[in-house]
C-alpha cells in the first residue's frame, strides 16, 4: 500500500525530466541532440524487452521489430512519397506489432532459452531476406526520405530538433502506457508467470494470452523505436535486424534493470554515451570498454541502474524499520 503512494513522485519526476529535455532541445549542440534521439529511440525497444524480462522472458531477436519499423518507414516514403513523420512512426509501430501478433501465436508457447533462440532465429530470417534483396540495396540498404511534420519540412538543424521532440513525445506516451500496464492486472502477472504458471491458469487467466500480449507490446515498441531511428539516421540497412543489434538491446536491458520504466531511458542514454565516447577516444577498443561496463554492472548492480533508486529507498526506510 505504501507502494501506491511512492509511484506518484516517480511520475512527477519523469514528467519534469521529459519537459526539461524537450525545453533544452534548442540549447543543446547537434551531436548531443542526435545521440539523445538515437538513445531514446532505442530506449523504446529496451522498454519492450523490460516488459518481457519481468515475466522471465528474454528475446534475442528484438531487432526484428526494430528493422521492420525502420524498413516500413523507409519503404512507405520511397514507394508512396508519404513522408509525414508522425504517421510514419505510428505505421512502423503498427506494422511491427502486427508481425509480433502473428509470431506471438508461436512464440507465446515457448519459455527461457527456447523463447530467446526462436526470436533470434526469426530476426535472422529477416536479415537473410533483406541481404538477398538487391532491389532494397542488399547489405548497403538505402536512404530514407527526409520526413515532414504536417506539411512542415524542416532542414538541417531543425530537422534533428524536430525528430528529437517527436522521439521525446513518443517516449513519454510509451512511458505513461507502460507504467500503467505494470500496475494493471495483466502487467502485474509478470512475476506470477515467472513463479508459477499453473496457479495463474487456475486463477482464471490464460498465461499464453498474457505472454502473447507482452510479445505484441514489445513488438510495437520495437517498431516505434526502429521507425524513429530510421528517420533520425536517414538510412536503413539489414544490420538493423542482425543479432548484434538484438544483443545491444539486451545489453542495455541488463544495464538498466527491469525495476523502473525510467531505467530503460537512462540505461539507453548511458549506453549510447559510453559507446560514442569509447568509439571517439578508443576506436580500437570501444567494444572492450562496453564489455567492461557490462561486467561492472553485473558485478555491482546485478539489478541494473534502476536498482540504485530502490537501494536509496531501502536506506531511507531502514532507520524507520529499526525503531
Amino acid at each position: 500500500m505504501q507502494k501506491s503512494f511512492s509511484i506518484a513522485p516517480a511520475q512527477i519526476f519523469g514528467a519534469i525530466m521529459f519537459v526539461a529535455a524537450a525545453a533544452a532541445g534548442p540549447l543543446l549542440p547537434d551531436w548531443i541532440v542526435s545521440l539523445t534521439t538515437i538513445a531514446f529511440a532505442n530506449a523504446l525497444v529496451v522498454l519492450g524487452l523490460v516488459v518481457l524480462w519481468r515475466a522471465g522472458l528474454v528475446s534475442f531477436g528484438q531487432a526484428l521489430y526494430y528493422c521492420i519499423g525502420a524498413y516500413v518507414v523507409a519503404l512507405s516514403a520511397r514507394w508512396t512519397g508519404f513522408t509525414d513523420a508522425i504517421a510514419l512512426v505510428l505505421i512502423g509501430g503498427i506494422a511491427a506489432g502486427f508481425v509480433a501478433f502473428l509470431i506471438g501465436f508461436l512464440l507465446a508457447r515457448y519459455r527461457e532459452i527456447f523463447f530467446a533462440m526462436l526470436s533470434l532465429a526469426l530476426s535472422m530470417i529477416l536479415y537473410g531476406v533483406l541481404v538477398k534483396t538487391e532491389s532494397l540495396g542488399s547489405t548497403d540498404g538505402f536512404s530514407v526520405e527526409t520526413p515532414t511534420f504536417f506539411g512542415y519540412a524542416p532542414h538541417g538543424e531543425m530537422l534533428g530538433r524536430s525528430l528529437y521532440w517527436l522521439t521525446l513525445a513518443i517516449d513519454a506516451a510509451a512511458a505513461v502506457f507502460i507504467a500503467w500496464y505494470f500496475r494493471s492486472v495483466a502487467g502485474s502477472l509478470a512475476a506470477p508467470i515467472r513463479d508459477n504458471e499453473i496457479r495463474v491458469e487456475f486463477l482464471g487467466v490464460s498465461v499464453t494470452r498474457i505472454i502473447h500480449t507482452k510479445v505484441v507490446i514489445a513488438g510495437v515498441l520495437g517498431g516505434l523505436g526502429g521507425a524513429l531511428a530510421a528517420m533520425s539516421v536517414g538510412h536503413v540497412d539489414p544490420n538493423m535486424a542482425y543479432w548484434t543489434t538484438s544483443g545491444g538491446f539486451v545489453f542495455v536491458t541488463v544495464l538498466a534493470g527491469s525495476g523502473y520504466v525510467a531505467a530503460a531511458f537512462v540505461g539507453s542514454l548511458v549506453f549510447e554515451a559510453v559507446r560514442s565516447f569509447a568509439y571517439a577516444f578508443m576506436p580500437q577498443f570501444w567494444q572492450l570498454t562496453l564489455g567492461t561496463v557490462l561486467l561492472l554492472t553485473i558485478l555491482f548492480l546485478p539489478d541494473g541502474i534502476g536498482s540504485l533508486v530502490s537501494r536509496l529507498k531501502r536506506r531511507q526506510q531502514a532507520p524507520e524499520a529499526g525503531l
Binding site: 502477472l189 487456475f202 486463477l203 482464471g204
Partner: protein, 263 residues
Amino acid sequence: MTDILAVRDLEKTFGSLVAARDITVSVPAQQTVGVIGANGAGKTTFINMITGHLTPSKGAILFEGKDITGKPSREITKLGISRSFQVAQIFPSLTVFENMCIAAAIASGDGGVIGNIATPVKSAAATAEAEATIDLFQIARYRHVAANVLPQGVRKLLDIGMAVVGGPRLLLLDEPTSGISIEEKFDLMNVVMSALKARRITVLFVEHDMEIVAQFADRVLAFYDGTVIADGSAHETLDNPKVQELISGVRLKPKPGEEAARA
C-alpha cells in the same frame, strides 16, 4: 433447492485404463463433502474432471443446473468453481498480500486481454477483498512476508485463501493437510472450515486422515477402483464394512465416542 453440483455416469478412460467410472453424485449447496480412497482410486481424476483439467470420456457434470462437461478450466473457474492443490501453488517471489491481491484482482476482472490491461491490480475493491480474506484465514501477521519463506501451514492457508478470494460457490480441496504435522492439522482445518462456512462455500475435500474426515465432513464419498463404493454421512461411510475392508486406514479410526472420551 437444486443441487449445486450434479454428476451423472461420469467415466474417464486413458486408453484401456479406466481411471473413473459410473460416478453419480449430487451435492446440495453448502455441504462439506469428504472424499476418501487409496492412491489411484480416482479421487483426483474426479476433481480434475469437475475443474475442467480433464475431459470426461462419458457422462455429464452440472454446476448450478448448468452443463459444464468438458469446458476449459479457466471458464469453469469464472463460473464459480475453485480449487486448491496438494502442493501449495503460490507465487514465491511475492508477499502474502501481493499474492492475495493478484488473485482478488483477477477474480474481479472479466479475464479478457483488454480488461486485464485496463484494470489496475491494486483497485480499492481488490485490495479490500484481499485484506478481508487474509484476515479470514488468520494470516495477517504474515501480510508483508515473501511467500517463499512462509511456514508450511501458512502456505496452505494462503493457497486456499487465493482459491477463495474470488467468491467461488464450490471449492475443491486436494489434500489440504498433506505435508502438515499431525499437531497442526486440526488447527489448520479449523481455520479453513470456519472461513469456508463464513463464506457459505460448498466444499469437496480429498483427505487421507480419517480423524479429520470424521470431524469436518457432513458427508463422505469413498472411492475404490475408479468409482464411489459408499456415499453417506461421515459415520455411515466410515463404518461401512466394505469401506473398512477396501480402504486402508479407515478401520484404525477411533469411534466418535472414544474420541469424545479422549477429549
